[in-house]
Protein backbone atom coordinates (compact mmCIF):
# COMPACT_ATOMS: atom_id res chain seq x y z
CA UNK A 1 0.00 0.00 0.00
CA UNK A 2 2.69 2.40 1.06
CA UNK A 3 4.81 1.32 -1.86
CA UNK A 4 1.97 2.05 -4.24
CA UNK A 5 1.54 5.51 -2.78
CA UNK A 6 5.23 6.08 -3.01
CA UNK A 7 5.18 5.09 -6.65
CA UNK A 8 2.26 7.36 -7.30
CA UNK A 9 3.89 10.38 -5.72
CA UNK A 10 7.03 9.59 -7.65
CA UNK A 11 5.06 9.47 -10.85
CA UNK A 12 3.52 12.84 -10.09
CA UNK A 13 6.89 14.35 -9.39
CA UNK A 14 8.26 12.78 -12.48
CA UNK A 15 5.50 14.39 -14.45
CA UNK A 16 6.24 17.76 -12.93
CA UNK A 17 9.88 17.38 -13.65
CA UNK A 18 9.14 16.47 -17.23
CA UNK A 19 6.85 19.40 -17.70
CA UNK A 20 9.77 21.60 -16.83
CA UNK A 21 11.98 20.43 -19.65
CA UNK A 22 11.64 21.91 -23.09
CA UNK A 23 11.63 18.51 -24.67
CA UNK A 24 10.19 16.05 -22.24
CA UNK A 25 12.32 13.03 -21.74
CA UNK A 26 12.01 10.37 -19.09
CA UNK A 27 14.87 9.67 -16.81
CA UNK A 28 16.12 6.33 -15.69
CA UNK A 29 15.35 5.35 -12.12
CA UNK A 30 18.64 6.47 -10.67
CA UNK A 31 18.37 9.89 -12.19
CA UNK A 32 14.68 10.05 -11.31
CA UNK A 33 15.58 9.65 -7.64
CA UNK A 34 18.07 12.43 -7.91
CA UNK A 35 15.40 14.65 -9.35
CA UNK A 36 13.08 13.81 -6.45
CA UNK A 37 15.67 14.66 -3.82
CA UNK A 38 16.23 18.11 -5.25
CA UNK A 39 12.52 18.91 -5.43
CA UNK A 40 12.96 20.54 -8.76
CA UNK A 41 11.38 23.65 -9.90
CA UNK A 42 13.04 25.57 -12.65
CA UNK A 43 12.09 28.81 -10.96
CA UNK A 44 14.08 27.89 -7.86
CA UNK A 45 17.29 27.87 -9.82
CA UNK A 46 19.27 30.47 -11.62
CA UNK A 47 19.59 30.02 -15.37
CA UNK A 48 23.18 28.97 -14.86
CA UNK A 49 22.35 26.27 -12.33
CA UNK A 50 19.60 24.95 -14.54
CA UNK A 51 21.89 24.78 -17.55
CA UNK A 52 24.63 23.11 -15.54
CA UNK A 53 22.18 20.51 -14.27
CA UNK A 54 21.00 19.82 -17.80
CA UNK A 55 24.57 19.54 -19.02
CA UNK A 56 25.37 16.96 -16.37
CA UNK A 57 22.17 15.06 -17.02
CA UNK A 58 22.86 14.83 -20.76
CA UNK A 59 26.62 14.48 -20.67
CA UNK A 60 26.44 11.41 -22.88
CA UNK A 61 25.26 13.67 -25.72
CA UNK A 62 28.52 15.59 -25.64
CA UNK A 63 30.43 12.34 -25.92
CA UNK A 64 28.32 11.45 -28.94
CA UNK A 65 28.82 14.69 -30.83
CA UNK A 66 32.48 15.11 -29.85
CA UNK A 67 34.16 13.07 -32.63
CA UNK A 68 32.15 14.67 -35.39
CA UNK A 69 32.40 18.16 -33.98
CA UNK A 70 36.15 17.81 -33.60
CA UNK A 71 36.67 17.04 -37.28
CA UNK A 72 33.96 19.46 -38.37
CA UNK A 73 35.37 22.37 -36.40
CA UNK A 74 38.95 21.60 -37.40
CA UNK A 75 38.26 21.45 -41.13
CA UNK A 76 35.19 23.64 -41.63
CA UNK A 77 34.83 26.23 -38.85
CA UNK A 78 38.45 26.82 -37.94
CA UNK A 79 39.50 27.46 -41.59
CA UNK A 80 37.07 30.37 -41.79
CA UNK A 81 38.53 31.87 -38.61
CA UNK A 82 42.06 31.18 -39.78
CA UNK A 83 41.33 32.79 -43.15
CA UNK A 84 40.05 35.88 -41.42
CA UNK A 85 43.14 36.04 -39.21
CA UNK A 86 45.57 35.42 -42.07
CA UNK A 87 43.83 37.97 -44.26
CA UNK A 88 45.35 40.70 -42.08
CA UNK A 89 48.87 39.42 -42.72
CA UNK A 90 51.22 39.04 -45.64
CA UNK A 91 52.08 35.47 -44.69
CA UNK A 92 53.28 33.48 -47.69
CA UNK A 93 54.48 30.04 -46.51
CA UNK A 94 57.88 30.56 -48.10
CA UNK A 95 59.52 33.03 -45.77
CA UNK A 96 58.99 33.92 -42.15
CA UNK A 97 58.64 37.60 -41.48
CA UNK A 98 58.53 39.34 -38.14
CA UNK A 99 56.22 42.13 -39.21
CA UNK A 100 53.47 40.07 -40.72
CA UNK A 101 50.50 42.17 -39.71
CA UNK A 102 49.46 44.58 -42.41
CA UNK A 103 45.86 45.01 -41.25
CA UNK A 104 43.56 46.03 -44.06
CA UNK A 105 46.19 46.35 -46.77
CA UNK A 106 45.06 43.11 -48.41
CA UNK A 107 41.50 44.34 -48.58
CA UNK A 108 42.41 47.76 -49.97
CA UNK A 109 44.61 46.03 -52.51
CA UNK A 110 41.69 43.74 -53.45
CA UNK A 111 39.07 46.40 -53.90
CA UNK A 112 41.12 49.35 -55.12
CA UNK A 113 44.09 47.95 -57.01
CA UNK A 114 43.44 44.42 -58.18
CA UNK A 115 41.51 44.92 -61.41
CA UNK A 116 41.47 41.21 -62.12
CA UNK A 117 39.84 40.55 -58.78
CA UNK A 118 37.16 43.13 -59.49
CA UNK A 119 36.55 41.56 -62.88
CA UNK A 120 36.36 38.16 -61.16
CA UNK A 121 33.83 39.57 -58.68
CA UNK A 122 31.71 40.82 -61.55
CA UNK A 123 31.94 37.47 -63.37
CA UNK A 124 31.15 35.52 -60.22
CA UNK A 125 28.11 37.62 -59.51
CA UNK A 126 26.86 37.27 -63.10
CA UNK A 127 27.44 33.52 -62.95
CA UNK A 128 25.67 33.18 -59.63
CA UNK A 129 22.86 35.58 -60.47
CA UNK A 130 22.04 33.57 -63.60
CA UNK A 131 22.75 29.96 -62.64
CA UNK A 132 21.45 30.17 -59.07
CA UNK A 133 17.90 31.36 -59.76
CA UNK A 134 17.56 29.57 -63.10
CA UNK A 135 18.70 26.22 -61.71
CA UNK A 136 16.47 26.73 -58.68
CA UNK A 137 13.39 27.50 -60.75
CA UNK A 138 14.22 24.75 -63.22
CA UNK A 139 14.62 22.22 -60.40
CA UNK A 140 11.28 23.20 -58.98
CA UNK A 141 9.42 23.27 -62.30
CA UNK A 142 10.70 19.88 -63.40
CA UNK A 143 10.01 18.36 -59.98
CA UNK A 144 6.53 19.86 -60.00
CA UNK A 145 5.75 18.75 -63.54
CA UNK A 146 6.82 15.16 -62.99
CA UNK A 147 5.05 14.94 -59.67
CA UNK A 148 1.86 13.61 -61.26
CA UNK A 149 3.50 10.99 -63.42
CA UNK A 150 3.31 7.36 -62.35
CA UNK A 151 6.08 6.38 -59.91
CA UNK A 152 7.99 4.26 -62.41
CA UNK A 153 8.12 6.95 -65.10
CA UNK A 154 8.91 9.56 -62.46
CA UNK A 155 11.91 7.51 -61.33
CA UNK A 156 13.25 7.35 -64.91
CA UNK A 157 12.76 11.06 -65.56
CA UNK A 158 14.39 11.86 -62.19
CA UNK A 159 17.40 9.81 -63.21
CA UNK A 160 17.72 11.58 -66.59
CA UNK A 161 17.63 15.03 -65.01
CA UNK A 162 19.75 14.16 -61.98
CA UNK A 163 22.45 12.07 -63.67
CA UNK A 164 24.61 14.95 -65.02
CA UNK A 165 25.08 16.36 -61.54
CA UNK A 166 26.55 13.15 -60.10
CA UNK A 167 28.61 11.94 -63.02
CA UNK A 168 31.85 13.68 -62.14
CA UNK A 169 33.93 14.68 -65.13
CA UNK A 170 31.28 13.88 -67.71
CA UNK A 171 30.78 17.62 -68.37
CA UNK A 172 34.02 17.44 -70.37
CA UNK A 173 31.84 16.16 -73.20
CA UNK A 174 30.73 19.76 -73.74
CA UNK A 175 34.32 20.50 -74.63
CA UNK A 176 34.12 17.78 -77.28
CA UNK A 177 30.73 18.93 -78.60
CA UNK A 178 31.90 22.56 -78.74
CA UNK A 179 35.49 21.78 -79.66
CA UNK A 180 37.24 24.68 -81.38
CA UNK A 181 38.09 22.84 -84.60
CA UNK A 182 35.99 21.33 -87.35
CA UNK A 183 35.99 18.00 -85.55
CA UNK A 184 33.68 19.37 -82.89
CA UNK A 185 30.14 18.27 -83.47
CA UNK A 186 28.66 21.78 -83.28
CA UNK A 187 31.25 23.39 -85.54
CA UNK A 188 31.11 20.47 -87.96
CA UNK A 189 27.34 20.59 -88.20
CA UNK A 190 27.24 24.37 -88.62
CA UNK A 191 29.91 24.18 -91.32
CA UNK A 192 28.10 21.42 -93.16
CA UNK A 193 24.97 23.54 -93.17
CA UNK A 194 27.04 26.44 -94.52
CA UNK A 195 26.10 28.70 -91.61
CA UNK A 196 29.74 29.34 -90.77
CA UNK A 197 32.81 28.91 -92.95
CA UNK A 198 35.53 28.74 -90.28
CA UNK A 199 35.23 26.96 -86.93
CA UNK A 200 34.20 29.08 -83.97
CA UNK A 201 36.52 28.89 -80.95
CA UNK A 202 33.57 28.57 -78.52
CA UNK A 203 35.14 28.11 -75.06
CA UNK A 204 38.17 30.10 -76.18
CA UNK A 205 36.19 33.02 -77.55
CA UNK A 206 35.28 35.85 -75.19
CA UNK A 207 31.97 36.24 -76.96
CA UNK A 208 30.70 32.75 -76.18
CA UNK A 209 32.77 31.39 -73.30
CA UNK A 210 30.71 32.83 -70.45
CA UNK A 211 27.35 31.86 -71.94
CA UNK A 212 28.51 28.33 -72.66
CA UNK A 213 29.89 27.91 -69.16
CA UNK A 214 26.55 29.00 -67.76
CA UNK A 215 24.78 26.47 -69.98
CA UNK A 216 27.09 23.69 -68.75
CA UNK A 217 26.63 24.82 -65.16
CA UNK A 218 22.86 24.68 -65.57
CA UNK A 219 23.11 21.30 -67.23
CA UNK A 220 24.72 19.82 -64.13
CA UNK A 221 22.83 21.85 -61.56
CA UNK A 222 19.73 19.72 -60.98
CA UNK A 223 21.15 18.15 -57.85
CA UNK A 224 20.20 18.03 -54.20
CA UNK A 225 17.63 20.83 -54.46
CA UNK A 226 15.88 18.91 -57.23
CA UNK A 227 15.65 15.71 -55.16
CA UNK A 228 14.47 17.67 -52.16
CA UNK A 229 11.67 19.24 -54.23
CA UNK A 230 10.59 15.89 -55.68
CA UNK A 231 10.38 14.42 -52.19
CA UNK A 232 8.68 17.47 -50.72
CA UNK A 233 5.97 17.47 -53.38
CA UNK A 234 5.23 13.84 -52.63
CA UNK A 235 4.53 14.58 -48.99
CA UNK A 236 1.85 17.21 -49.55
CA UNK A 237 -1.52 15.93 -48.42
CA UNK A 238 -3.60 15.23 -51.54
CA UNK A 239 -6.85 16.08 -49.81
CA UNK A 240 -5.71 19.69 -49.59
CA UNK A 241 -6.01 19.96 -53.36
CA UNK A 242 -9.47 18.43 -53.34
CA UNK A 243 -10.58 20.85 -50.69
CA UNK A 244 -9.08 23.70 -52.67
CA UNK A 245 -10.94 22.63 -55.81
CA UNK A 246 -14.18 22.78 -53.85
CA UNK A 247 -13.20 26.22 -52.54
CA UNK A 248 -12.89 27.53 -56.06
CA UNK A 249 -9.25 27.12 -57.10
CA UNK A 250 -9.49 27.07 -60.87
CA UNK A 251 -6.16 25.97 -62.31
CA UNK A 252 -2.80 24.48 -61.41
CA UNK A 253 -1.11 27.86 -61.10
CA UNK A 254 -3.48 28.96 -58.37
CA UNK A 255 -2.94 25.59 -56.72
CA UNK A 256 0.78 26.20 -56.91
CA UNK A 257 0.63 29.62 -55.28
CA UNK A 258 -1.96 28.93 -52.60
CA UNK A 259 -1.13 25.37 -51.57
CA UNK A 260 1.99 23.84 -53.07
CA UNK A 261 4.47 26.64 -52.41
CA UNK A 262 3.43 27.37 -48.81
CA UNK A 263 3.46 23.64 -48.00
CA UNK A 264 6.91 23.33 -49.54
CA UNK A 265 8.53 26.23 -47.71
CA UNK A 266 11.06 24.14 -45.72
CA UNK A 267 12.24 22.34 -48.87
CA UNK A 268 12.29 25.63 -50.78
CA UNK A 269 14.62 27.11 -48.19
CA UNK A 270 16.90 24.08 -48.18
CA UNK A 271 16.89 24.01 -51.98
CA UNK A 272 17.86 27.68 -52.07
CA UNK A 273 20.89 27.02 -49.90
CA UNK A 274 21.94 24.17 -52.19
CA UNK A 275 21.41 26.23 -55.37
CA UNK A 276 23.27 29.27 -54.07
CA UNK A 277 26.20 27.23 -52.82
CA UNK A 278 26.30 25.42 -56.16
CA UNK A 279 26.11 28.65 -58.15
CA UNK A 280 29.16 30.07 -56.36
CA UNK A 281 31.23 26.93 -56.41
CA UNK A 282 31.84 25.58 -59.86
CA UNK A 283 35.08 27.24 -60.93
CA UNK A 284 36.52 23.79 -61.63
CA UNK A 285 34.19 23.38 -64.59
CA UNK A 286 35.39 26.67 -66.05
CA UNK A 287 39.03 25.70 -65.59
CA UNK A 288 38.49 22.37 -67.33
CA UNK A 289 36.61 23.83 -70.30
CA UNK A 290 38.14 27.27 -70.83
CA UNK A 291 41.63 26.72 -69.48
CA UNK A 292 43.29 28.64 -66.69
CA UNK A 293 43.25 31.56 -66.95
CA UNK A 294 40.38 31.77 -69.42
CA UNK A 295 40.82 33.86 -72.53
CA UNK A 296 41.21 37.52 -71.53
CA UNK A 297 39.92 36.58 -68.06
CA UNK A 298 36.42 36.43 -69.57
CA UNK A 299 35.41 33.61 -67.22
CA UNK A 300 37.75 34.40 -64.33
CA UNK A 301 35.83 33.91 -61.09
CA UNK A 302 36.74 34.57 -57.46
CA UNK A 303 37.59 30.89 -57.16
CA UNK A 304 40.20 31.31 -59.87
CA UNK A 305 41.75 34.29 -58.08
CA UNK A 306 41.94 32.11 -55.01
CA UNK A 307 43.64 29.31 -56.90
CA UNK A 308 46.01 31.77 -58.51
CA UNK A 309 47.21 33.37 -55.28
CA UNK A 310 46.78 30.36 -52.99
CA UNK A 311 48.12 27.44 -54.98
CA UNK A 312 50.40 29.10 -57.50
CA UNK A 313 51.85 32.25 -56.02
CA UNK A 314 51.67 31.08 -52.39
CA UNK A 315 50.55 34.51 -51.19
CA UNK A 316 48.55 32.94 -48.41
CA UNK A 317 47.64 36.18 -46.67
CA UNK A 318 46.20 37.71 -49.81
CA UNK A 319 44.46 34.48 -50.81
CA UNK A 320 42.91 34.28 -47.34
CA UNK A 321 41.43 37.73 -47.85
CA UNK A 322 39.93 36.51 -51.12
CA UNK A 323 38.58 33.39 -49.41
CA UNK A 324 37.01 35.45 -46.67
CA UNK A 325 35.36 37.80 -49.16
CA UNK A 326 33.96 34.77 -51.00
CA UNK A 327 32.69 33.40 -47.68
CA UNK A 328 30.96 36.69 -46.88
CA UNK A 329 29.36 36.91 -50.33
CA UNK A 330 27.91 33.41 -49.99
CA UNK A 331 26.61 34.01 -46.49
CA UNK A 332 24.99 37.32 -47.44
CA UNK A 333 23.38 35.81 -50.54
CA UNK A 334 21.99 32.94 -48.48
CA UNK A 335 20.68 35.18 -45.76
CA UNK A 336 18.90 37.52 -48.17
CA UNK A 337 17.34 34.69 -50.15
CA UNK A 338 16.17 32.87 -47.03
CA UNK A 339 14.57 36.07 -45.73
CA UNK A 340 12.74 36.42 -49.03
CA UNK A 341 11.61 32.81 -49.08
CA UNK A 342 10.19 32.95 -45.60
CA UNK A 343 7.56 35.29 -47.09
CA UNK A 344 6.38 32.85 -49.77
CA UNK A 345 2.63 32.34 -49.68
CA UNK A 346 2.12 34.68 -46.76
Amino acid sequence: MKKQKDLKSKAVQQEQADALHDDSILETDAQGAAVKKKAVSRKDMTMLQWTWREIKRNKIAYVMIAPFMFVFILFTVFPVVLSLALSFTNFNMLEFKSDMFIWFDNYTRLFFQDEIFLLACKNTLIFAAVTGPVSYILSFLVAWFINELSPRIRAIVTLIFYAPSISGAVYLIWGVLFSNDGQGWVNGTLMKMNIISTPILWFYDEQYAMTLCIVVALWMSLGTAFLSFIAGLQTIDKSLFEAAAVDGIKNRWQELWHITLPMMRPQLMFGAVMSITGAFGFGGVVTALCGFPSVNYSCHTIMHCLEDYGNQRWEVGYASAIAFVLFLIMMVANTIVNKMLSKVGQ
Binding site: N58, F75, L82, A155, V176, S228, E255, F270, N334
Partner: protein, 290 residues
Protein backbone atom coordinates in the same frame (compact mmCIF):
# COMPACT_ATOMS: atom_id res chain seq x y z
CA UNK B 1 -20.59 21.97 -64.12
CA UNK B 2 -17.12 21.42 -65.44
CA UNK B 3 -16.48 18.01 -66.94
CA UNK B 4 -14.24 15.86 -64.74
CA UNK B 5 -11.08 14.46 -66.30
CA UNK B 6 -9.88 11.04 -65.27
CA UNK B 7 -6.32 9.72 -65.24
CA UNK B 8 -5.24 6.42 -63.71
CA UNK B 9 -8.85 5.90 -62.56
CA UNK B 10 -8.64 9.05 -60.48
CA UNK B 11 -10.42 12.31 -60.99
CA UNK B 12 -7.93 14.91 -62.12
CA UNK B 13 -8.64 18.28 -60.62
CA UNK B 14 -7.83 21.61 -62.16
CA UNK B 15 -5.83 20.25 -65.08
CA UNK B 16 -6.31 21.58 -68.60
CA UNK B 17 -5.34 19.63 -71.72
CA UNK B 18 -3.43 22.64 -73.01
CA UNK B 19 -1.43 22.88 -69.82
CA UNK B 20 -0.61 19.18 -69.90
CA UNK B 21 0.57 19.48 -73.49
CA UNK B 22 2.74 22.51 -72.66
CA UNK B 23 4.32 20.73 -69.73
CA UNK B 24 4.93 17.64 -71.80
CA UNK B 25 6.69 19.71 -74.48
CA UNK B 26 8.79 21.49 -71.87
CA UNK B 27 9.84 18.18 -70.31
CA UNK B 28 10.74 16.67 -73.69
CA UNK B 29 12.93 19.65 -74.65
CA UNK B 30 14.62 19.85 -71.24
CA UNK B 31 14.99 16.08 -71.14
CA UNK B 32 16.76 16.12 -74.51
CA UNK B 33 19.07 18.90 -73.31
CA UNK B 34 19.96 16.87 -70.21
CA UNK B 35 20.14 13.47 -71.84
CA UNK B 36 21.77 13.98 -75.25
CA UNK B 37 25.23 14.97 -73.95
CA UNK B 38 25.22 11.83 -71.81
CA UNK B 39 24.27 9.76 -74.86
CA UNK B 40 27.03 11.45 -76.83
CA UNK B 41 29.68 10.34 -74.32
CA UNK B 42 28.52 6.76 -74.67
CA UNK B 43 28.47 7.10 -78.48
CA UNK B 44 32.00 8.54 -78.49
CA UNK B 45 33.26 5.68 -76.36
CA UNK B 46 31.86 3.13 -78.82
CA UNK B 47 33.09 4.78 -82.03
CA UNK B 48 35.92 3.20 -84.00
CA UNK B 49 38.79 5.49 -84.99
CA UNK B 50 37.49 6.41 -88.44
CA UNK B 51 34.13 7.45 -87.03
CA UNK B 52 35.75 9.52 -84.29
CA UNK B 53 37.59 11.57 -86.88
CA UNK B 54 35.14 11.69 -89.77
CA UNK B 55 34.03 15.04 -91.14
CA UNK B 56 31.39 16.27 -90.64
CA UNK B 57 31.15 14.57 -87.25
CA UNK B 58 28.22 12.24 -86.75
CA UNK B 59 26.29 12.11 -83.50
CA UNK B 60 25.52 8.42 -83.44
CA UNK B 61 27.76 5.41 -83.96
CA UNK B 62 27.40 3.07 -86.93
CA UNK B 63 29.90 0.28 -86.18
CA UNK B 64 30.12 0.16 -82.41
CA UNK B 65 33.32 -1.34 -81.00
CA UNK B 66 34.76 -1.90 -77.56
CA UNK B 67 38.27 -1.12 -78.77
CA UNK B 68 38.33 2.18 -76.88
CA UNK B 69 37.86 0.33 -73.62
CA UNK B 70 40.67 -2.12 -74.34
CA UNK B 71 42.82 0.85 -75.42
CA UNK B 72 42.06 2.52 -72.13
CA UNK B 73 43.23 -0.47 -70.13
CA UNK B 74 46.39 -0.93 -72.16
CA UNK B 75 47.18 2.79 -71.84
CA UNK B 76 46.64 2.61 -68.11
CA UNK B 77 48.71 -0.52 -67.67
CA UNK B 78 51.58 1.18 -69.56
CA UNK B 79 51.96 3.81 -66.86
CA UNK B 80 54.70 3.15 -64.33
CA UNK B 81 52.21 3.07 -61.50
CA UNK B 82 50.07 -0.03 -62.01
CA UNK B 83 46.45 0.67 -62.89
CA UNK B 84 45.24 -1.40 -59.95
CA UNK B 85 47.01 1.06 -57.66
CA UNK B 86 44.80 3.94 -58.87
CA UNK B 87 41.71 1.79 -58.38
CA UNK B 88 42.87 0.81 -54.91
CA UNK B 89 43.50 4.45 -53.96
CA UNK B 90 40.06 5.56 -55.09
CA UNK B 91 38.31 2.64 -53.43
CA UNK B 92 40.27 3.10 -50.21
CA UNK B 93 39.59 6.84 -50.01
CA UNK B 94 35.93 6.33 -50.83
CA UNK B 95 35.40 3.48 -48.38
CA UNK B 96 37.33 4.92 -45.45
CA UNK B 97 35.92 8.41 -45.90
CA UNK B 98 32.35 7.22 -46.25
CA UNK B 99 32.52 4.81 -43.33
CA UNK B 100 33.94 7.40 -40.95
CA UNK B 101 31.48 10.03 -42.08
CA UNK B 102 28.58 7.63 -41.56
CA UNK B 103 29.69 6.64 -38.09
CA UNK B 104 30.51 10.11 -36.76
CA UNK B 105 27.57 11.84 -38.44
CA UNK B 106 24.91 9.43 -37.31
CA UNK B 107 26.16 9.47 -33.71
CA UNK B 108 26.11 13.25 -33.68
CA UNK B 109 22.80 13.43 -35.54
CA UNK B 110 21.19 11.15 -32.96
CA UNK B 111 22.43 13.26 -30.07
CA UNK B 112 21.34 16.52 -31.69
CA UNK B 113 17.98 15.15 -32.69
CA UNK B 114 17.00 13.13 -29.64
CA UNK B 115 18.88 14.33 -26.55
CA UNK B 116 17.90 17.77 -25.25
CA UNK B 117 21.35 18.88 -24.16
CA UNK B 118 22.07 22.57 -23.70
CA UNK B 119 23.77 23.97 -26.77
CA UNK B 120 22.24 21.67 -29.34
CA UNK B 121 20.46 24.53 -31.06
CA UNK B 122 23.76 26.34 -31.42
CA UNK B 123 25.47 23.24 -32.76
CA UNK B 124 22.77 22.70 -35.32
CA UNK B 125 22.81 26.37 -36.27
CA UNK B 126 26.52 26.03 -37.00
CA UNK B 127 25.93 22.95 -39.12
CA UNK B 128 23.18 24.63 -41.12
CA UNK B 129 25.45 27.61 -41.76
CA UNK B 130 28.22 25.32 -42.94
CA UNK B 131 25.97 24.15 -45.79
CA UNK B 132 26.00 27.71 -47.09
CA UNK B 133 29.61 27.89 -48.24
CA UNK B 134 31.76 25.63 -50.37
CA UNK B 135 35.04 23.91 -49.65
CA UNK B 136 36.72 26.48 -51.89
CA UNK B 137 36.67 28.86 -48.94
CA UNK B 138 38.39 26.41 -46.61
CA UNK B 139 40.93 24.95 -49.04
CA UNK B 140 43.85 27.24 -48.27
CA UNK B 141 43.48 27.19 -44.50
CA UNK B 142 43.11 23.40 -44.63
CA UNK B 143 46.35 23.20 -46.55
CA UNK B 144 48.07 24.86 -43.60
CA UNK B 145 46.28 22.68 -41.05
CA UNK B 146 47.09 19.48 -42.90
CA UNK B 147 50.75 20.47 -43.26
CA UNK B 148 50.92 21.19 -39.56
CA UNK B 149 49.41 17.76 -38.85
CA UNK B 150 51.96 16.13 -41.20
CA UNK B 151 49.16 14.69 -43.28
CA UNK B 152 50.46 16.01 -46.60
CA UNK B 153 50.83 13.42 -49.31
CA UNK B 154 48.78 10.98 -47.32
CA UNK B 155 45.36 9.64 -48.33
CA UNK B 156 44.09 10.66 -44.90
CA UNK B 157 44.44 14.30 -45.98
CA UNK B 158 41.32 13.61 -48.04
CA UNK B 159 39.70 11.01 -45.79
CA UNK B 160 39.71 12.81 -42.44
CA UNK B 161 38.14 16.09 -43.65
CA UNK B 162 35.46 13.96 -45.33
CA UNK B 163 34.51 12.57 -41.91
CA UNK B 164 33.43 16.03 -40.86
CA UNK B 165 31.26 16.70 -43.91
CA UNK B 166 28.05 18.25 -42.61
CA UNK B 167 25.63 17.45 -45.44
CA UNK B 168 25.05 13.86 -44.33
CA UNK B 169 24.62 14.87 -40.72
CA UNK B 170 22.08 17.51 -41.69
CA UNK B 171 19.96 15.06 -43.69
CA UNK B 172 20.28 12.37 -41.03
CA UNK B 173 19.24 14.70 -38.23
CA UNK B 174 16.22 16.01 -40.13
CA UNK B 175 15.18 12.46 -40.96
CA UNK B 176 15.51 11.35 -37.32
CA UNK B 177 13.41 14.31 -36.22
CA UNK B 178 10.53 13.19 -38.38
CA UNK B 179 10.78 9.41 -38.35
CA UNK B 180 11.75 8.32 -34.83
CA UNK B 181 9.13 8.95 -32.20
CA UNK B 182 10.42 9.94 -28.78
CA UNK B 183 8.16 7.43 -27.05
CA UNK B 184 10.00 4.48 -28.62
CA UNK B 185 13.31 5.80 -27.34
CA UNK B 186 11.83 6.57 -23.94
CA UNK B 187 10.62 3.03 -23.44
CA UNK B 188 14.02 1.73 -24.47
CA UNK B 189 15.67 3.99 -21.92
CA UNK B 190 13.22 2.92 -19.22
CA UNK B 191 14.14 -0.65 -19.96
CA UNK B 192 17.67 0.28 -19.04
CA UNK B 193 19.21 0.71 -22.46
CA UNK B 194 22.24 2.95 -22.41
CA UNK B 195 22.14 5.92 -24.77
CA UNK B 196 24.67 4.23 -27.07
CA UNK B 197 22.67 1.03 -27.15
CA UNK B 198 19.44 2.92 -27.83
CA UNK B 199 21.19 4.66 -30.69
CA UNK B 200 22.61 1.50 -32.16
CA UNK B 201 19.80 -1.01 -31.61
CA UNK B 202 16.69 1.16 -31.79
CA UNK B 203 17.44 4.32 -33.73
CA UNK B 204 19.84 3.19 -36.44
CA UNK B 205 17.65 0.46 -37.93
CA UNK B 206 14.81 2.99 -38.16
CA UNK B 207 16.77 5.42 -40.32
CA UNK B 208 18.10 3.08 -42.98
CA UNK B 209 17.06 5.39 -45.85
CA UNK B 210 19.02 8.22 -44.24
CA UNK B 211 22.22 6.27 -43.94
CA UNK B 212 21.94 5.04 -47.48
CA UNK B 213 21.56 8.66 -48.54
CA UNK B 214 24.53 9.70 -46.46
CA UNK B 215 26.59 6.89 -48.00
CA UNK B 216 25.60 7.97 -51.51
CA UNK B 217 26.48 11.60 -50.88
CA UNK B 218 29.81 10.80 -49.35
CA UNK B 219 30.48 8.23 -52.05
CA UNK B 220 29.74 10.60 -54.92
CA UNK B 221 32.00 13.25 -53.50
CA UNK B 222 34.91 10.95 -52.80
CA UNK B 223 34.64 8.76 -55.89
CA UNK B 224 35.14 11.83 -58.06
CA UNK B 225 38.22 12.97 -56.14
CA UNK B 226 40.66 14.09 -58.77
CA UNK B 227 43.99 15.81 -58.56
CA UNK B 228 44.26 17.16 -55.04
CA UNK B 229 46.73 19.80 -53.90
CA UNK B 230 47.26 17.71 -50.77
CA UNK B 231 48.68 14.71 -52.62
CA UNK B 232 51.65 14.74 -54.95
CA UNK B 233 53.06 11.21 -55.07
CA UNK B 234 52.02 9.47 -58.25
CA UNK B 235 51.37 6.18 -56.46
CA UNK B 236 48.79 7.86 -54.21
CA UNK B 237 46.74 9.47 -57.00
CA UNK B 238 43.20 8.48 -57.79
CA UNK B 239 41.46 6.80 -60.69
CA UNK B 240 39.76 10.05 -61.69
CA UNK B 241 43.18 11.68 -61.89
CA UNK B 242 44.61 8.83 -63.98
CA UNK B 243 41.75 9.04 -66.48
CA UNK B 244 42.14 12.82 -66.54
CA UNK B 245 45.78 12.31 -67.53
CA UNK B 246 44.71 10.18 -70.48
CA UNK B 247 42.27 12.88 -71.59
CA UNK B 248 45.08 15.42 -71.29
CA UNK B 249 47.14 13.18 -73.56
CA UNK B 250 45.57 14.94 -76.52
CA UNK B 251 43.26 14.29 -79.40
CA UNK B 252 44.73 10.92 -80.31
CA UNK B 253 43.17 9.54 -77.16
CA UNK B 254 39.66 10.89 -77.59
CA UNK B 255 38.14 7.42 -77.72
CA UNK B 256 39.99 6.06 -74.70
CA UNK B 257 39.16 9.15 -72.71
CA UNK B 258 35.46 8.84 -73.55
CA UNK B 259 35.65 5.20 -72.44
CA UNK B 260 37.19 6.31 -69.14
CA UNK B 261 34.47 8.90 -68.62
CA UNK B 262 31.80 6.28 -69.22
CA UNK B 263 33.33 3.97 -66.61
CA UNK B 264 33.64 6.79 -64.09
CA UNK B 265 30.06 7.94 -64.57
CA UNK B 266 28.47 4.49 -64.61
CA UNK B 267 29.32 3.76 -60.99
CA UNK B 268 27.54 6.71 -59.33
CA UNK B 269 24.61 6.39 -61.72
CA UNK B 270 24.14 2.69 -60.94
CA UNK B 271 24.39 3.38 -57.23
CA UNK B 272 21.74 6.06 -57.54
CA UNK B 273 19.41 3.80 -59.54
CA UNK B 274 19.56 1.18 -56.82
CA UNK B 275 19.03 3.58 -53.93
CA UNK B 276 16.77 6.19 -55.50
CA UNK B 277 13.63 5.43 -53.49
CA UNK B 278 15.57 5.60 -50.20
CA UNK B 279 17.14 8.92 -51.13
CA UNK B 280 13.80 10.44 -52.04
CA UNK B 281 12.37 9.18 -48.74
CA UNK B 282 15.20 10.89 -46.86
CA UNK B 283 14.87 14.09 -48.84
CA UNK B 284 11.22 14.39 -47.82
CA UNK B 285 12.43 15.63 -44.43
CA UNK B 286 15.33 17.70 -45.75
CA UNK B 287 13.51 21.02 -45.42
CA UNK B 288 14.82 23.89 -43.32
CA UNK B 289 12.66 25.55 -40.73
CA UNK B 290 12.97 29.33 -40.53
Amino acid sequence: MQKMRVRNHQVVLNRSVGGDAGIFTFLIIMGAFMFLPMVYVVMQSLKPLDELWMFPPRFYVVNPTLKNFTDLFSLLSDSWVPFSRYIFNTVFITAAGTFGNLLLSSLAAYAISKIPFPGRKGVFWLIQRSLMFTSTVTAIANFITLSALHLMDNPFAIIIPAWGSSMGLYLMKQFMDSSISDSVLESARLDGCSEFKTFWVIAMPMVKPAWLTLIIYSFQGLWNTGASPYIYSEQLKTLNYAIGQITAGGIARAGASAAGTVIMMLVPILVFVITQSNIIETMASSGMKD
